[in-house]
């Protein structure tokens, strides 16, 4: 049999892109040929890990300046929404974001279809939140990776997606109603697009169907919920996390080089809130620990960095998390799972999307502290860090979770399952 070609199509975010890298590394070792379909601007990322890339052709003229303008516009428009609660964000953030996602799917369709005809993959791995019809129509098995929180797959016992609510919260129905109202026109537009491309419409609020072949979920057992309707075991596989192999990170020595290591990353988007990170750094200066802070592309916004703090524009996250005693993050699902994978307690400070769901789950399952971004005081932040560093019972529990997750080897399991659904030629 020829080596099977597996096309990965992650969404344009680091979380899902690097999650797919983890699976592709294992597939490659098993003799498959993973290739990546990538959005403009991700060119080179997968190549650096040794994978062939195919860039989606640009459908509109998107020069550098235009992209920079949209980025700045995005920051200006949305930064103030980051402190809103999830219900208020439905209108201010979630609706506009779904609109943009639908635009992306429509714009990518033609280029994606012709690329898939050229590559002729044996299977396609889609790590996204929306279906691109060219994938469903490619005539080969497609695999859905749910790299968001488990809430992405609805169930009466699971809180509504992006709500940050508990499953039985009385506010549930009001949230669901508001969500459906705001997304209705966007959803109708998406369903019309699907119809044109020969796909069945999806139920209200849904933008991506489950795969009839295989669905891979990251959510580890320790944070999973008891579902009212069990997911069919033959097509739903839980990976117990999925962590890529990454370059070794040697924490640079700091002028004050003592104490536990605390890593802070709010993801590439969260780094735009330089005021918040700046206020946190002021507190870090007063706390006996070494802090490594991911400030994304905004290093130039910081001056007079304290002697126990190091700022970087990028860290090979698995490696630094593995060496950390505490991880402060935004509840992005990769960060959430990596903290568990390495047995590190979290302070979760979400600002949007499934970060809210993971923030709540952090508190519910006792794996860390859920802290609101805008209402903490320096004393509360110090207290949160000190209590997690001293909580030996939590650390032992996290170590057990970590051992189970490492033993489960989620990315290898994903690779096995993907190869299983490829028809023998």
């Amino acid at each position: 049999m020829n080596k099977p070609v597996i096309s990965f199509f992650p969404e344009a975010s680091f979380g899902s892109a690097l999650n797919c890298v983890g699976i592709a590394q294992k597939l490659q070792r098993q003799g498959a040929v993973p290739v990546f379909l990538c959005h403009q601007g991700f060119t080179g990322v997968f190549n650096e890990y040794g994978f062939k890339e195919y860039q989606l052709p640009a459908t509109r003229k998107a020069d550098n300046q235009r992209s920079e303008e949209s980025w700045q516009a995005f920051i200006n428009a949305h930064l103030e929404h980051f402190n809103q609660d999830p219900t208020a964000q439905i209108e201010s953030y979630v609706g506009p974001t779904w609109n943009a996602i639908v635009d992306t799917a429509i714009q990518a369709e033609q280029g994606l279809e012709s690329l898939l005809k050229r590559i002729k993959p044996d299977a396609i791995v889609l790590d996204n939140v929306i279906m691109f019809p060219a994938i469903a129509n490619a005539g080969v098995p497609w695999i859905r990776v749910v790299s968001c929180a488990e809430t992405e797959i609805p169930d009466p016992n699971v809180p509504p997606y992006l709500s940050g609510l508990a499953a039985g919260d009385p506010a549930r129905s009001a949230f669901e109603k508001a969500y459906l109202e705001v997304t209705a026109p966007i959803h109708a537009r998406y369903n019309r697009f699907r119809a044109k491309r020969g796909l069945e419409p999806l139920p209200p609020g849904q933008f991506l169907e489950t795969s009839p072949w295989l669905n891979l979920l990251l959510a580890p057992r320790s944070v999973r919920r008891e579902r009212a309707e069990a997911l069919p075991e033959d097509s739903f596989v839980f990976l117990e996390g999925c962590v890529r192999e990454e370059a070794q990170f040697d924490p640079p020595p700091l002028p004050v080089n003592e104490g536990p290591i605390i890593y802070l990353s709010f993801g590439s988007l969260g780094a735009i809130d330089t005021d918040l990170i700046g206020r946190m750094i002021d507190v870090f200066a007063t706390f006996p620990a070494r802090f490594y802070v991911n400030v994304g592309g905004f290093l130039e916004s910081y001056q007079r960095v304290p002697n126990n703090v190091y700022l970087g524009s990028w860290f090979p996250q698995p490696s630094i998390v593995a060496q950390s005693d505490l991880f402060i993050h935004h509840g992005g699902n990769n960060s959430f799972c990596e903290a568990l994978y390495y047995g590190v307690p979290s302070i979760c400070m979400p600002y949007c999307w499934d970060g809210h769901d993971n923030g709540l789950r952090t508190a519910e399952t006792g794996i860390g502290i859920h802290l609101k971004r805008d209402s903490w005081t320096p004393d509360q932040l110090r207290e949160a860090m000190a209590s997690l560093l001293q909580d030996h019972e939590m650390r032992e529990r996290l170590q057990r979770i970590s051992r189970d997750m490492v033993a489960a080897d989620g990315s290898a399991k994903a690779a096995d399952e993907i190869l299983r659904v490829i028809p023998a030629s």
């Binding site: 959005h39 998107a62 635009d103 939140v129 990454e246 370059a247 988007l269 290093l299 524009s313 090979p316």
Partner: protein
Amino acid sequence: MKTRSNTRQNHLKLARQIVEIVLERGLTRGDHLPETTLSEACGVSRTPIRSALKILESNDIVQRRDEGGYFLNQSPEQVGIDGVTQLDEMEGSLAARILSDRAERRIADVQSVSALVRRYDAPRSAVLNALKILSADGVVAQLPGRAWAFQPLLDTPNAIAESFAFRLGLEPQAILAPGFDMDNQKSGLLRQQMEEFLQRSDGNMSSVAFLHLDCAFHSLIAESSGNRFIRGALLAHQRLRLTTQKDHSIPDFRLRQSLEEHLDILDSLERMQHQLAADQMVLHLRRSQIRKPQAANRGLLPLARKGMA
């Protein structure tokens, strides 16, 4: 006018000269180092010799005895390796700390000597000496008045992108300029170090160790160039990279690929295929130039990157 930092540097130089005399004359541990002999050998009076001996004493290289005078306190092998390194560090350690604090944005880009004296709790002469070392590398410049200004460092993604553009312009030219001459012993040693690094398993390839090897390779290319100006500019730039570049983002695959590209370039240079080596250098730098994109979140296209060809 002679400043205190000048004097300090001169004493350090003398201390090094004394070390050389010790090695040349085959002195051994316990041998007497008479001030008069040293003063004649170095062509200076006994006062600076005494200061230089004090520096050596503070590093345990010599010992002052009650019976009078200074005696060698280490074996010649120790003096040759550890002693020289200690003196280098004495000269460079404060400079390195200042540079690293600037690269990590702990201190502002304009500094007064008094502020640095307070921050590092060091004598004014030591701070001036450190600034002098940094200014020789083009890292700081004295402003009119008493302040010193840091020059751009490789501390942000934009600065790194500009560094690549600069190197893409100059490094192939360093190879192509008439008179390129590489030290075979150095290239052989470097080749061996890179091959050893390639033997490491994934996950054990330290990014800091890689940066050292990478800078050593590109510095070798620079110093082999037949064009003195290209040589000077690139060597200074590589020193700046080594001390200030912050980039821990390179996956193991690219680290390996990058080292293999270095070895290919060395192969071509050893075969005197300079044009091919220059082309390989362009390819190597372009591949390394591909930066992590600044990605937007769900549904938004990531920001197109700067510095892409």
